[in-house]
């Protein structure tokens, strides 16, 4: 194990992490509810078209949706059941989205998967398996994994970086995966190395997870060979340690320029949970239809790390965990820093949902915001070296399209600026507005 603690130099914050609510909770499979809502657009780009019709019977793992153009991935039935409707479901960002409603056939036994040897497969065959399993990045944008593993021609990849930082407060899903399934995560990493034709893999884990670092280190030692040299790197606890560019800088020292891709700097990044999903897709031939989600916050009766089927409604999870508490004030899909508040519990889990937080009044900020007093704390906290204060003032003055010089388009919305702002200004929202104004102007 590497004793030095690595980090990125510029900006970042240290919010209270609230991870103790669920850090010790073993991943718990949630019983499948009576019906699932499968949103057809769970990845970036053109959504799936349904390949099933109303009243069709489908088996567990059967194809439900497919994409013919763009870089999308197929969608599978998480359980055996009957298609009860093709309709629209609530969506955390797009408000509503086309979906397939599946009534679960409870009599059907869950499918079991056998491990098989993948070492004889070519990179293209491995990549195709990942594609057909429907794997997208856990991160939130829903970027298809097989596309990420197809570096642009001409780029020379030399390092795979596995992201086990899990820097968002509350979240412990990756943490549990690394403790309970380090063997599968590391084997997933080996599969990726063999696809990319490289040998070097660095796994970044924040040092508030010593148990995960220990489990992953011993497993990495076991599986390391001449073809796959896997090393665990301990990272300082600092948000946003797990942001792609910050992570790359922390573990490799390389700085990815504004419009550059990690691949331009010889690096590919995958999340540890994605690596495990890749293991399941390749070694078990299991499509990506269930995932570990952290359910936390003081507003839920029983916080947990749940293994849920894609398409499970938030309200079914709430029922399973004993309901919400009286102090519940806000429900957030994703982490507290970058997630989205939702207004309904009739919203299905997608492949990119990392957590559902049930926050009480004392866990959120409801103060009115006031003028910028130019204290400069956001500038200091911004890991990208931007000026959120100026962008906010410009947006308030209807000048959002003149903010390029402050770095609007480089912002990845980590929320450090809004977190440190003493005037409680909604800086991320201001920056989003500036971005959309800039895009509109670019479009003419």
């Amino acid at each position: 194990m590497n004793a030095t603690v690595l980090t990125f130099p510029k900006g970042g914050i240290h919010p209270p992490d609230y991870k103790s609510l669920t850090a010790e909770m073993v991943i718990e499979p949630m019983p499948t509810p009576t019906s699932l809502e499968l949103i057809l657009g769970q990845h970036i780009g053109v959504p799936c078209s349904p390949v099933v019709a109303k009243k069709d019977k489908v088996a567990e793992g059967a194809l439900v949706g497919e994409v013919t153009k763009g870089m999308g991935v197929p969608l599978h039935a998480p359980v055996a059941g009957t298609v009860s409707n093709l309709t629209e479901s609530a969506h955390p960002i797009q408000v509503s989205s086309p979906s397939v409603i599946l009534r679960v056939n409870k009599k059907e036994e869950p499918k079991s998967y056998q491990s098989s040897d993948w070492s004889g497969l070519s990179p293209d065959e491995l990549r195709e398996k990942i594609h057909l399993a429907g794997i997208v990045g856990i991160g939130g944008a829903g970027f298809p994994a097989h596309v990420k593993l197809t570096p642009p021609p001409g780029s020379k990849i030399d390092t795979l970086v596995l992201n086990g930082a899990e820097c968002e407060p509350y979240l412990t899903a990756d943490h549990r995966q690394m403790i309970e399934h380090p063997d599968q995560v590391i084997e997933g990493a080996r599969i990726i190395l063999s696809i990319l034709g490289i040998t070097e893999c660095l796994v970044g884990i924040e040092n508030n997870k010593p148990d995960a670092i220990a489990a992953m280190s011993s497993e990495a030692e076991k599986q390391t060979s001449a073809e796959a040299r896997i090393e665990i790197k301990t990272l300082e606890v600092k948000y946003p340690q797990g942001a792609e560019k910050q992570l790359i800088q922390s573990v490799t020292g390389r700085r990815v320029a504004s419009q550059g891709l990690p691949a331009d700097h010889g690096v590919i990044v995958q999340n540890v949970s994605t690596a495990r999903a890749i293991f399941e897709a390749v070694a078990l031939d299991k499509p990506y239809y269930e995932k570990v989600v952290t359910i936390s916050g003081k507003g839920i009766a029983r916080p947990a790390n749940l293994l849920v089927k894609v398409g499970t409604l938030v309200k079914d999870i709430v029922t399973h965990l004993g309901g919400t508490t009286e102090e519940l004030a806000k429900v957030v899909l994703g982490g507290p820093m970058m997630g989205f508040a939702v207004s309904t519990l009739d919203i299905p889990i997608t492949k990119t949902t990392s957590s559902i937080l049930f926050l009480t009044r004392d866990e959120i900020d409801t103060d009115l915001f006031s003028n910028c007093i130019r204290c400069g704390r956001c500038v200091e906290a911004c890991p990208m070296g931007l000026q959120p204060n100026e962008i906010g003032v410009y947006v308030e003055a209807s000048q959002g399209e003149n903010t390029t010089k402050f770095g609007t388009m480089e912002c990845f919305e980590c929320g450090c600026c809004a977190y440190v702002c003493p005037s409680k200004r909604p800086l991320v929202q201001f920056i989003r507005m500036a971005k959309s104004q800039l895009k509109r102007r670019a479009a003419g």
């Binding site: 510029k10 320029a257 130019r374 911004c382 000026q387 010089k405």
Partner: protein, 324 residues
Amino acid sequence: MWIVAACLLPVLLLSVVVFGVQTLLITAVSVISCVVVEALSQKGMKRRITISDGSAVVTGMLLAFVIPPGVPLWLPILGAVMAIYIGKHLLGGIGYNIFNPAMLGRAFLMATFPVAMTTAWLPPLEDGAIFSFLSGSLDGVTAATPLYLLSHGGMEAVINEFGQPGDFYATFFLGWRPGSIGETSGLLILLGGLYLIYRKFITWHTPVAVLSTIALLTWIFGGESWFGGDPLLAILSGGAMLGAFFIATDYVTSPMGPRAKLIFGAGVGALTVLIRIKGGYPEGINYAILLMNPLTPSLEEWFRPERFAGPKVIEEEEGSSGDE
């Protein structure tokens, strides 16, 4: 802002011991008028009333701290109207004011009540009779500040009044000298300022730049011959310490970046020395800060933070987006 007010409180208490209880009354009048003017301004402009943020309280304290201890009690009221209504809210409210409100208030009082503002100095009390103001026995007791003596009679006059430098450095540093209400105690201002730096409310850049520039330029130009000035006297007299730690560091009217802060502070220091040596007033930090305040946006334009993306990418973006 309440922390800043708390850091100024010891300075205020010491001024009561040094000059008498009227400093407390003047400060109270100043703080109350600033808060009232802020509330009335915001009500009149139909804005949310933000007096609880402590900003007007700090402005009121600083305004009182930079006027002499022997002025009439009502004087700060006029300064408060200038500072808060004209200097702050007419310019857009907190965050949008170009000039430091307290400094604007003092400049206004200097222009309208020059006699009170330049002669109402009091000598430090020697008998501890801090309540003599209440019995009305203050009239006719005035004293000359070290800077006044320095600009009118040179170092000789200062030594005549206060003794050898080795003796008065310590008394000045503790706060026993004629001067504005809250500017005399270098020690308490330094402690308050260091606490603000420790708590990361301010950084060291501005105070260090202001004080070192004042010391250096006074040493070079401030004596009878080249390199004959007294740098220590320069920072222990006038409002140098108060200005460096509590006024030039105002968030709204000074730049954010470390490099811009150094330039801003050096500018304040240089203009202060220029006014002290060549100008018509013995003290110049008030106008020095007011002259540097409007340079803040330009300083920020010139010294943007280093972007993660790197400078080359930013140039390309600037060129292609064609804004500005």
